[in-house]
């Protein structure tokens, strides 16, 4: 599973620290997510999508 967190974070002019605080996780979790080294829980995926005002499907997607 890949995501567009880095892209949207840049679009919203947020730092990794800012985003981490907004979704109540550690900065390392955002780093891992951006590097596709971790698949988030449904709650975290929902919170992230809510920050960027998009749907989960627009933020996370499967690649064959």
């Amino acid at each position: 599973m890949t995501n567009k967190i880095k892209e949207y974070r840049a679009r919203f002019n947020l730092t990794q620290d800012d985003l981490a605080k907004m979704v109540n996780v550690r900065r390392e979790t955002i780093v891992f997510l951006e590097k596709n080294k971790y698949n988030p829980s449904l709650k975290l995926a929902y919170d992230l999508a809510k920050v960027f005002k998009i749907s989960i499907e627009d933020l996370f997607f499967f690649e064959d």
Binding site: V25, R27, E28, F32, K35, Y38, L44
Partner: protein, 132 residues
């Protein structure tokens, strides 16, 4: 924060007991003593590193534990448990073939368990958990 203080307190106690053990064992230190001391020191450094990370997160205003750190800890615990079973089977296998005391072998087993935990944690912490 309580758990962070606990991590530092336990590390300090381990270090203190190792120093006391070294002083009480007299002037003669064998190579195996040095290896054991080195491994314990490594584990204490590892515990301090975890404590420092938690402290840093608390200072930044981030949660000390989140879903990723909990998942890493869970995966580390399960993997190191699996490895430690093999460590004990190996110790049981070599028990009659070497001249070590039972206490020493138990000590090595416990050190092996702690070391496997530290290695697994470092591995998952840097490699990440992709397919969960």
């Amino acid at each position: 924060m309580k758990r962070t203080i606990l991590v530092f307190a336990i590390s300090f106690l381990i270090l203190l007991s190792v120093v006391m053990w070294f002083y009480s064992s007299g002037q003669y230190y064998s190579a195996t003593d040095a290896i054991q001391f080195g491994i314990i020191l490594l584990l204490v450094v590892f515990a301090m590193f975890i404590g420092y990370k938690r402290l840093k997160s608390a200072k930044r205003g981030e949660p000390v534990e989140d879903e990723l750190s909990k998942k890493i800890l869970l995966r580390t615990a399960s993997t190191s448990y699996y490895i430690s079973l093999y460590i004990w089977v190996f110790i049981l296998f070599i028990k009659d073939r070497i001249s070590y005391d039972t206490e020493e072998l138990i000590g090595y087993g416990i050190l092996g368990m702690a070391l496997s935990f530290a290695i697994c944690w470092l591995l998952f912490n840097f490699r990440g958990i992709r397919h969960d």
